[in-house]
Symmetry: C2
Subunit: 291 residues, 2 copies
């Protein structure tokens, strides 16, 4: 409890590159924020724990984590990162560490589900029925909010791993996904772009075919999301989406692919994050149990 | 109210080929059932209405309809079929006709959402977190139940219209979907199979490449459903799925495509309908408002 009497909530946006930490009274009332680089698990978790201890007593903690993660509350691996290729992090008990160290209830979900929840509630999805949050960077991932709740199914979405109709000018490249070769992540993530053309998308001239190819693939993702879930708002974030003109290309290509067929019509929108870089952290605060 | 004092519910599974009508006390207690061929809207709706009138007074009616349909309760077109190519049925007010004729509250959803609800509650999905119902026949469609509720998003899924990675032996065929050419429905529906190979899948010898190609495409659908929603149970029904060995081929191919990546692991299952031909009608009864 803070001096104001309002509960103080903690939040961690646990990414593969950095951990973003915060305490606040609500997702829109952040009091303090701190970033640490993601090193090995022990170093990273202890450093994060130290920071929270220094903030005073928090009531609960929400964690939005990179994954895959185990979200099954009745599983002994709940709150763990499962089989990431990131050295040391496979089977890491992220939630358990903070539960022990801080002695507070923990909310835990994927980083992208957290971001989707925040965008749905406070960002690009305000007033909409449903929202998908897609991030295109080192990998391609996403979270989905339908009827106000993050979709979990048997675990959580891994939407970067769908297969696509190959672009007519892109039949040679084998793809770089270690599991699926030429799935979306294997074809359109930052490293896949670099492997194919030796540069990031924003470094390539605007008339380079790469822009058209990547936009086509991301538009197919949007098209499939609409076909499968009729989701209303699709937010595209992440490093690759900073490429000038890419969002507009994706939007235009998705309209071409849809060909006016979907019954949701103009309700389906492809947009940038309404919360900018803050969706993941705000979402992690939303995950903190209210106790 | 029936003579037993239990409310009597009506149900319509409104398909493009036939309307299946029923009255019952619950989705598992059907008292009478009747089928009529789908002709023009006036003939069909009047005939269906006559049958219900002859059954005595019902308390409410559930309709699972072919589509696309308008499911937005605040839309003037709620309960209408929207832009079907089926002559006469575009903009047909199916729900409105029965509301006027029978004077009872109407529940309305897609035929495949109804089937998904019934399979989830009483069929292949009993005890699971989530279920998708896919039908592969004249068209390819599906419904999705997550957290016990049918997914609507901005309207309803149209999951037959995703794009796919083309099979290496199937690059020539242009596809027959009038909207998307080589989407899943354009490549793997009954008419697409006939257009490509001059026969239905079950008429082709078991070593014909068609079996491998169609299984690959349907497995990609299952793979994408899992990637996007982590759905636990995927039910495949419809005429094409009666092809011997097809479900097993789809299951095996989906496992190959997934390559053990998805965090839901062995929870994801590809199965036949648990309710056989009755899922749609049972689901329509589930849609009947309890008044």
């Amino acid at each position: 409890m803070s001096s104001t009497g309002e509960p103080l909530l903690g939040a961690i946006e646990a990414g593969g590159t950095k951990f973003v930490l915060a305490v606040g009274h609500s997702p829109t009332k952040i009091i303090a924020r701190h970033e640490i680089p993601t090193r090995d698990p022990v170093t990273t978790l202890v450093q994060a724990g130290d920071w929270f201890v220094a903030q005073g007593v928090i009531n609960s903690l929400g964690i939005g984590s990179f994954g895959p993660v185990d979200l099954n509350r009745s599983s002994p691996l709940w709150g763990h990162i499962t089989h990431t290729p990131k050295p040391g992090w496979a089977k890491c008990d992220v939630a358990g560490y903070f539960a022990d160290r801080l002695g507070v209830p923990i909310g835990f979900d994927t980083d992208v589900n957290a971001a989707a929840l925040a965008e749905y509630q406070y960002g690009a999805g305000k007033g909409a029925s449903s929202l998908a949050y897609v991030t295109v960077g080192t990998g391609i991932g996403g979270g989905l909010v339908l009827d106000g709740r993050a979709v979990h199914g048997a675990a959580h979405p891994e939407l970067g791993h769908i297969f696509l109709r190959r672009h007519v000018e892109d039949h040679e490249f084998a793809g770089i996904c270690p599991y699926h070769s030429d799935c979306l992540e294997g074809l359109a993530s930052g490293p896949a772009i670099k492997a194919r053309w030796g540069a990031s998308l924003s470094e390539l001239p605007t008339d380079h075919i790469a822009h058209e190819i990547i936009a086509d693939y991301l538009a197919q993702l949007a098209h499939s999301l609409i076909a499968m879930t009729a989701v209303e708002i699709i937010v595209f974030g992440g490093g690759v989406m900073k490429t000038e003109g890419l969002l507009e290309r994706v939007d235009q290509r998705a309209a071409e692919l849809g060909a006016g067929y979907f019954p949701g019509g103009s309700k389906h929108k492809i947009v940038s994050p309404g919360l900018g870089q803050n969706a993941g952290l705000a979402g992690a605060l939303m995950l903190a149990p209210l106790v």
